[in-house]
């Protein structure tokens, strides 16, 4: 007993910088409270209370972030806290801010109950599709309010993920962010079978990716004797160890990360999951998961593997090309608007990867990629917000042919959607263009000009399928039994407006955000 106490006294409690990690703590703490509320509150109160709690949480976390960033005594290079497990540096803070604001838009979409009576989530997801109980459930308007704690947990995981300074923390964060998403995918009220398929597919493939990641971590531990990112960098600087371990570990690790970021050729889950998941969840995944995954990729590549970049750059170069080509070319053949945006996100992932590997000469690729993530996230949330509005009696009318002539009936919705598509295509005066511009200029300065040229051609190809939707909406005759556009409630309206306005503002005055993204580098 005495021995134990003595040993326990020898372990020093790590120093915790509460101010720095307050946003994460608030989000994860609120998620736990939210679970309790789910258990204790009567059914009819849950939705309102959960929504209020979620919004207050995001507000509180954002306030904590702002307080921390504006305080005087913040070290410019960032702090490592919790025994160096989390690194709160400028990129982490920027990505946290991005995640919180994007999550705000997503929560609004998730909470909306005006577009679909009772919300887009099913009450009892375990009921098998096609059974009597399922048909009975379809007529009710109850909703699973557990989506709120699930979303908060996922968000907390994402925030931890982008700040993780060692690979094990990163792995745990990866699971914390993934598991709620698997569940959320299966909760669609309509098209239950598709939704369940999406959940299972995402889960199975996600489990594989996690295994890859973990295997990579193990090999890297064998190589460096530590899972700390900076320790791997130090080990790689010496030359007396096995390069096989290092690069096998790197490869497996990166596959896990690229999977989450839906970079081709690790994208196969993306179209199915984007299509099957409830649209607000798709918006959340497309915007926030992308940010988290690329935040992780940027940190791993910059902190742990920067000095070996000449060995791996060629590989990721090839992956970026494959991703852009797959996204742009397969996007052309899609007939479902959600699948089309899924392929567009694969192409965008390729563009983001270009920024992520443009580490020389001065790491401008990092700030460029972060700006791109922010811009893309807002555009995507608004895009999916609009997708959720175009409906017929079976729910969302996602088949492209049903969008024909939409501009005649709903000029405002069509105009907003056109603007967002132009932003996705990267037309000037939208944030999408500035994002592409900063990423491509960083890449050209890093000597990746051929890659940029391929990216530009891919952009032009991808522009075709965005244009096709615009053609459909404006220049085609409306179908006789076409869908109607639901007048959105306040929540969805706010989310779409937020996304579209940010897309415009960042396209016209990107300076402020660019400067913030460029103020600091990763803590190593």
């Amino acid at each position: 007993m005495n021995l134990l106490v003595a040993q326990a006294q020898q372990i020093e409690a790590p120093e915790i910088h509460y101010g720095a990690i307050a946003p994460v703590l608030i989000v994860l703490g609120a998620a736990c409270v939210s679970v309790l509320l789910e258990a204790l509150l009567p059914k009819h109160q849950r939705w309102a209370v959960q929504l209020l709690l979620s919004l207050l949480t995001l507000l509180g976390a954002t306030a904590a972030l702002v307080l921390y960033v504006t305080a005087d005594d913040v070290p410019a290079q960032g702090v490592a806290t919790l025994a160096g497990m989390l690194a709160v540096d400028t990129p982490a803070l920027f990505l946290w801010g991005t995640l919180l604001v994007l999550a705000f838009g997503s929560i609004l979409l998730i909470a909306d109950r005006s577009v679909e009576p009772g919300g887009v989530f099913v009450a009892q997801a375990a009921i098998r599709p096609g059974t009597v109980q399922d048909r009975a459930q379809a007529t009710k308007t109850g909703m699973q309010t557990e989506v709120f704690p699930l979303t908060l947990f996922a968000l907390g995981g994402m925030m931890t993920f982008v700040a993780s300074n060692d690979l094990l923390t990163m792995f745990i964060a990866l699971e914390v962010l993934s598991l709620p998403l698997y569940l959320l995918c299966g909760l669609a009220r309509r098209r239950r079978l598709l939704s369940q398929e999406a959940a299972v597919k995402y889960f199975l493939l996600g489990a594989f990716a996690s295994a890859f990641f973990l295997y990579g971590v193990a090999l890297l531990y064998g190589y460096a004797g530590s899972v700390k990112l900076s320790a791997i960098a130090t080990a790689a600087a010496g030359t007396d160890r096995s390069d096989t371990l290092l690069f096998a570990g790197f490869g497996l690790l990166v596959v896990g990360l690229l999977f989450k970021a839906s970079v081709g050729p690790f994208h196969t889950w993306t179209p199915d999951v984007y299509q099957g998941a409830p649209t607000p969840v798709t918006a959340f995944m497309a915007a926030c998961t992308k940010v988290a995954a690329f935040g992780g990729i940027l940190r791993v590549l910059t902190v742990a593997f920067e000095n070996t970049q000449w060995e791996w750059r060629g590989v990721l170069y090839g992956v970026a090309v494959v991703s852009m080509v797959i996204g742009a070319v397969l996007g052309l053949t899609q007939t479902d608007v959600k699948r089309m945006i899924a392929y567009s996100s694969v192409a965008h992932a390729g563009f983001l990867l270009i920024g992520s590997i443009a580490l020389v000469p001065d790491g401008e690729g990092v700030s460029a990629t972060m700006f791109y993530l922010l811009a893309y996230g807002f555009t995507t949330i608004a895009t999916f917000g609009i997708v959720s509005l175009v409906r017929n009696s079976d729910g969302e009318a996602t088949h492209l042919s049903q969008w024909a002539g939409l501009a005649k009936r709903s000029p405002i919705v069509a105009a907003t959607f056109t603007f967002l598509l132009l932003a996705l295509a990267g037309i000037p005066l939208t944030s999408g263009f500035i994002g592409k511009f900063v990423v491509f200029s960083a890449a050209i300065e890093a000597g990746l000009t051929p890659l940029v040229v391929i990216a530009l051609v891919a952009s032009a190809v991808a522009a075709f399928f965005y244009l096709r939707v615009i053609v459909l909406m404006y220049f085609s005759e409306p179908a006789a039994d076409g869908p109607t556009v639901t007048v959105p409630g306040a929540f969805t309206t706010i989310a779409i407006t937020l996304g579209a306005v940010v897309t415009l503002v960042l396209g016209l005055w990107p300076t402020l955000v660019l400067e913030w993204a460029g103020t600091g580098t990763f803590l190593s």
């Binding site: 000037p428 050209i444 615009i470 053609v471 990107p510």
Partner: protein, 522 residues
């Protein structure tokens, strides 16, 4: 006087906003759009008087910071070439509005929306010519596509969707490749100066000193964008579709104005920024140019559709313009720039006249017409005049330009010049043959035969099939063009005076001097 330049950018935008709110009332919308476009014309005249041909390279320069992180500025200014192009836009837009006064739009479309897009197009196009920041130029170059995309796709003919998307994608791709080159130039500037900039004058200084390999790559990026825009063979295939499907007024804008951005870009960006590459690659460009002259002329001869005919005629003319630009003599350069102006005027007039023919016959096929001069002599005369200025008959404006291009190119590029001269012969063939088939001989085509057969049909407003001659509105639209065509044909000096110093400055930037024979000829 910089306010004139800013007003030129703001007035059409304000007009577009006003007109867009008048969608309920077509007539008011048309009057408002016409008023705004006439104000623009007055401003353009003021701009012309404010420009000093012997003054600075870029005049009336003005600007504010836009994205300081990249040294991007919203900066505008004009040289002689930009001035001429802005003037011709301001001239053509009111005529386009006037010519389309009674045109029927597709069902469910309002004049307000159509005219608002035209005015936005005018503003953006003026801005493209006035931009003096390479980034800004790129942004406007791409933004310019959007109103045109909706104009073709929303108000065009049967295959309008195809044509609109094709138009957009071609230009967008070209623009993106140009963006890569622009970023490359920016990267060079930030290496050399320590701070990146997109300022045109600064980039010219930095990039023109680069080694010739770098220049070649950057040149190719810009060149592709301009070759698609201009369009040079083999990057031209979007133009016949766009021209054929667009409503007639929009065809005037596409062929008469938008295309000029390509040749303007060659003069403003390619030559000064990449002098070495321009000289090294000139032979290849000249091959494309002459191929364009011959190919465009031959295909124009063989066209059955009048609007596609117009597109191929323009392709041939753009070959001449490119020949003049890359011949690197001051005469040829001045010829090319005045050709840019005169092509807008003559082809614009030809398109408007053909639009009037189509408005009567309801078809754009040449074979649907014949003997039209019997029922509409004035219209036939206008077609003949606009055709003759298109084939560069002496005494019309285009003759001066084409002659200058050929005489200026001959000393440096005799072979290409001789080949291009064949284009002049073909021009006479396709124009006169078009006139002969449509205007002379016995009456042909449903509309025309119906008109002549009916009792007292000619000029009879009661019968629907009537083919009348030009009405007052149409005469008012064409009269200014007739005056300009003849005036510039006999006295082109005012235009040449404005252009010559800028062309001279451009050639100095390239670092070429005229061959001795040309200098003696002055």
């Amino acid at each position: 006087m910089t306010w004139v330049l800013i007003a030129l950018l703001v007035v059409p935008l304000a007009g577009a906003l006003v007109v867009a709110f008048l969608r309920k009332n077509d007539r008011t919308a048309k009057l408002a759009a016409l008023a705004f476009s006439l104000v623009e014309l007055v401003l353009a005249v003021l701009l012309w008087t404010a420009y000093d041909p012997d003054g600075d390279r870029i005049q009336l320069a003005t600007g504010v910071d836009w994205i300081p992180a990249f040294g991007v500025r919203l900066s505008f200014g004009i040289d002689g070439i930009a001035l001429v192009m802005i003037a011709v836009i301001a001239l053509l837009i009111p005529l386009v509005i006037g010519a389309g006064w009674t045109e029927k739009l597709p069902a469910g479309r309002s004049q307000g929306g159509y005219l608002a897009l035209i005015l936005v197009q005018e503003a953006v196009t003026v801005a493209v010519f006035a931009a003096t920041d390479v980034f800004l130029f790129y942004v406007l170059f791409e933004v310019m596509l959007i109103p045109m995309y909706f104009l073709i796709g929303g108000y065009g003919g049967a295959r309008r969707q195809y044509a609109a998307v094709k138009f957009f994608l071609y230009s967008f791709l070209g623009g993106l490749i140009m963006l890569a080159s622009a970023i490359g130039a920016y990267a060079m500037a930030s290496d050399e100066l320590g701070k990146g900039t997109f300022d045109w004058a600064t980039l010219v200084k930095v990039v023109s000193d680069a080694d010739s390999t770098t220049q070649t790559w950057l040149f190719l990026g810009f060149f592709l964008a301009f070759a698609i825009k201009a369009p040079l063979v083999p990057f031209h295939t979007w133009l016949p579709d766009a021209a054929a499907e667009a409503p007639i007024g929009v065809t005037v804008i596409v062929v008469g104005i938008l295309d000029k951005v390509g040749t303007f870009g060659m003069l403003r960006y390619l030559l000064p920024m990449f002098p070495e590459a321009s000289k090294n690659l000139a032979p290849y460009v000249l091959v494309l140019a002459v191929a364009g002259v011959l190919y465009g002329s031959l295909l124009a001869t063989g066209q059955r559709d009048m609007k596609r005919f117009l597109a191929y005629v323009s392709i041939a003319h753009f070959g001449f313009i490119a020949l003049g630009i890359f011949a690197f003599t001051s005469q040829a350069g001045v010829g090319s720039v005045s050709y840019m102006l005169n092509h807008s005027i003559s082809t614009g007039m030809l398109i408007l006249v053909i639009g009037m023919v189509i408005a009567r016959g309801g078809s754009s096929l040449i074979s649907d017409y014949g003997g039209m001069s019997k029922v509409a002599p004035l219209l036939a005369g206008m077609l003949l005049l606009s055709g003759l200025t298109t084939l560069s008959l002496p005494g019309t404006n285009s003759f001066v330009s084409e002659f200058l291009v050929l005489i200026g190119s001959f000393p440096t590029q005799p072979v290409y010049t001789i080949l291009a001269t064949i284009g002049m012969v073909l021009a006479a063939l396709y124009v006169l043959w078009l006139y002969q088939r449509m205007m002379t001989g016995p009456l042909r085509g449903d509309a025309l035969v119906g008109a002549a057969a009916g009792p007292g049909a000619v000029g009879d407003p009661e019968t629907k099939t009537t083919i009348g001659d030009l009405n007052k509105r149409e005469i008012a639209v064409l009269a200014p063009l007739v005056v300009i065509v003849l005036a510039l044909g006999f006295y082109p000096q005012p235009v040449l005076d404005v252009i010559t110093p800028t062309v001279g400055a451009t050639l100095t930037e390239v670092g070429v001097t005229d061959p001795v024979s040309v200098q003696e000829g002055k």
